[in-house]
Symmetry: C2
Subunit: 444 residues, 2 copies
């Protein structure tokens, strides 16, 4: 016997909400396909040994084990917490059957084993695209990924998703700069910078001292760098003006300059260099990306990612990659908020309810439904032969626009229950207006 059992952090949608979520997912999958990304679907679990890293992330894993297993499992499993680690493992599993560079798209749930708390998801949907190369990954893919994401967001605009700003940086630039000023604990520097927006420059300075051993001058230079923000390739001049020299800094600057130049041409105003962006994950080695909804920056990044050069190695071959992940559940939280005024016309797919005159004549209504379905018109037959007024209310309660009346003798009529207009109709030819055929998402 099922009991109500809502779980904090595991969102489920009502039918009309799911219409909106599905519209988002379909739009993302379609955009990714237009950009040539092959759709994949990863299994939900990975060996814990693949998920656990040096970083802090292992705290957030949901372990999976057979309920009545006898003793410890030989190969303990966990639910994946992102779609990058499963892709890397998938590449290692299937390298011989794939053609490289390989472009992959996935839209599916991920899980984080957090303690239940308000506002934190423990299951959420992500939409990821990645390019993986065998051997060398050309730098232009670091441009293509954010521009494909920008295209996807522009196609989400009719669903109520605001404009975006993609802020970018480069791990080589940060590492080169840090080494150029004499800092060597790069992971610590990145972790400190990653907290810039949360705790502010002053606290980051203190953290750089305590965590990365930075003296006052090193702190000053790091904070100067972190404050640089520009949508022009000229940002490089500001970095050069700080007088720091290192080959990795040069490589990062060149790569980020190329990215900004291409972005200015193909998606003007969308991509902005922001040198405080570091990203928490330790596997990034080149470009890193975060994405803000313009006017709703407080929501945090709705799409993030970066370049990772060392995530996949098979035998002696290295498979560098670059990718971004869109937080579908986070977008949904925004869209379902009152401010967005995004609605679905209905939660049921049916455009028509076929009324039943009397239970013994249900098969007449079934026949009309079969004909309409064969013509790709979604419909359902009334659950009972109640008075027509009650059958109309059945449709009304579901925002189904039409009710069909059938009479073996006198033919068929269809009623638009919004206008009350009722006309004769032939199941072989009648077609609802395009806006009424399927549930639609609109802004009220």
């Amino acid at each position: 016997m099922a009991k109500s059992a809502r779980l904090s952090g595991f969102p489920e949608r009502l039918p009309a909400e799911r219409v909106i979520e599905k519209a988002i997912i379909d739009t993302l999958e379609h955009t990714f396909a237009l950009h040539g990304f092959s759709a994949l679907n990863h299994r939900a679990v990975e060996p814990i040994s693949q998920l656990a890293k040096d970083g802090e992330i292992d705290k957030e894993i949901f372990a999976v084990s057979r309920l009545h297993s006898e003793g410890a499992e030989r190969n303990p499993l966990g639910l994946h917490f992102d779609l990058t680690v499963p892709l890397a493992r998938y590449i290692a599993d299937n390298a011989n059957d794939l053609s490289f560079p390989f472009k992959a798209a996935r839209v599916q749930p991920v899980w984080r084993g957090e303690r239940p708390q308000a506002g934190r998801y423990r299951e959420f949907i992500q939409a990821d695209i990645d390019v993986i190369a065998d051997g060398e990954l050309p730098g232009h893919f670091e441009v293509e990924i954010p521009l494909a994401v920008a295209d996807a967001f522009s196609r989400l605009a009719p669903l109520g998703v605001p404009g975006i700003k993609i802020v970018v940086n480069d791990r080589r630039l940060l590492e080169g700069f840090a080494r150029g000023i004499g800092l060597t604990n790069i992971q610590a520097v990145l972790r400190c910078l990653d907290k810039y927006d949360k705790i502010g420059p002053e606290e980051v300075g203190k953290l750089l001292a305590s965590e990365a051993g930075a003296n006052e001058e090193q702190q000053r230079l790091c904070l100067k760098l972190a404050a640089i923000e520009s949508d022009s390739p000229d940002f490089a001049d500001e970095v050069r003006a700080l007088g720091v020299e290192h080959p990795l800094l040069d490589a990062g600057l060149e790569s980020l300059t190329t990215l900004l130049r291409a972005a200015a041409e193909r998606a003007p105003g969308v991509v902005v260099a922001q040198l405080k962006i570091a990203r928490g994950l330790d596997y990034y080695t080149g470009a890193v990306y975060e994405t803000q909804l313009i006017g709703h920056e407080e929501l945090g990044s709705v799409s993030s990612g970066g370049r990772y050069d060392s995530l996949v190695t098979v035998g002696k071959k290295n498979y560098p990659g670059v990718g971004m992940s869109i937080g579908v559940s986070r977008l949904m939280a925004f869209i379902l908020g009152e401010e967005s005024q995004v609605r679905a016309t209905r939660g049921t797919p049916s455009a028509v309810v076929i009324a039943v005159t009397e239970e013994a004549r249900r098969s007449e209504a079934d026949a009309v439904a079969a004909t309409l379905r064969s013509r790709d018109i979604p419909c359902e037959v009334s659950p009972n032969a109640a008075k027509f007024g009650k059958q109309i209310r059945y449709a009304e309660r579901r925002d189904i626009p039409f009710v069909w009346f059938t009479d073996g003798e006198s033919g068929h009529e269809v009623k638009d229950i919004r206008s009350g207009e009722q006309t004769t109709a032939d199941p072989d030819t009648w077609t609802p207006a395009e806006d009424d055929l399927w549930p639609r998402v609109y802004r009220s």
Copy 2:
């Protein structure tokens, strides 16, 4: 660093295989929508207390717990093993926000925490439809569910799925018959009958004796009943001829007769009464269904379900339901077998590769790609400015039919690399043949 880590029972698809799987899923979702089922998506986990039942099923649950949780969880979780239990709980969670009868469709993975063994899935995709009523569930829904499934399978035929036979029975019929001959341990009788195909009538007879306390006459009658099979409503006469009387038997016979009569009209030959069908799950209370692929009966049931009257109760209100589940992963196993000869035209969505003349002129190719994408033509830009022969081989290896050559001066040309034909083309107007636009599934 990712290592190869295939896991038995957790299938993942190569890109061209996923094209086929996605075509199956899209077809099922589309058919369910045409029949008026609202698409839902359940969270992956349920409290173990909801999943664990008296039956044998609790052995197969994957428990989920935070990797570094401190002590025992207050509300231990498990991955759902079907989509009926989550629906029941969803109804209990959201009864006030739904309109009844409520028709729900879900296509998503489920998990069974089995020991790894050949041929057993531990993660697989199911496609479920259910109707849930508040109070009374009219019997015609026991007809609609299998006929919607039959419609779905007929729409899968172009993807290589064979014709089906839906075998049906009714739990009331079985229970009434058992009680009518003096047996009282109904669960035991059902468990014995459920093994009919596996172990044969003789062994079932012995089991009925040892498990349900059946004497020789009771065994004989049970086996007589179990042998009845017919696609005609007249099967009821064969049951009556056994001379057993019980009100539940009458109710079950009437319901099953109605089902066969409607099915004979709307989907002739598809639905067959088979009175040995019992289904393992203990929550069924009326019609039960199994589905065989004609000519491939050895694969077992590819779609099963039944009516459940007591799965959901909220306060004093009861919510009876009826539903069926299609085993998408099981269908995929058949379709990916050699016999089916089902193939996808390609694993990448791109219909066109835009060649790059030289790296400095990549933006010309990017511009063509952007124009084609704005016209809903999937394409990708060549990863490098290699010799054109090499760029054509890039497309060939992926079965991408067209390569686009662009030249700032002399305009554009597009080559069909199968025929070698090369023609001038305008990115604002050129359109590939419909068969080439998107990956397609076909039988070779």
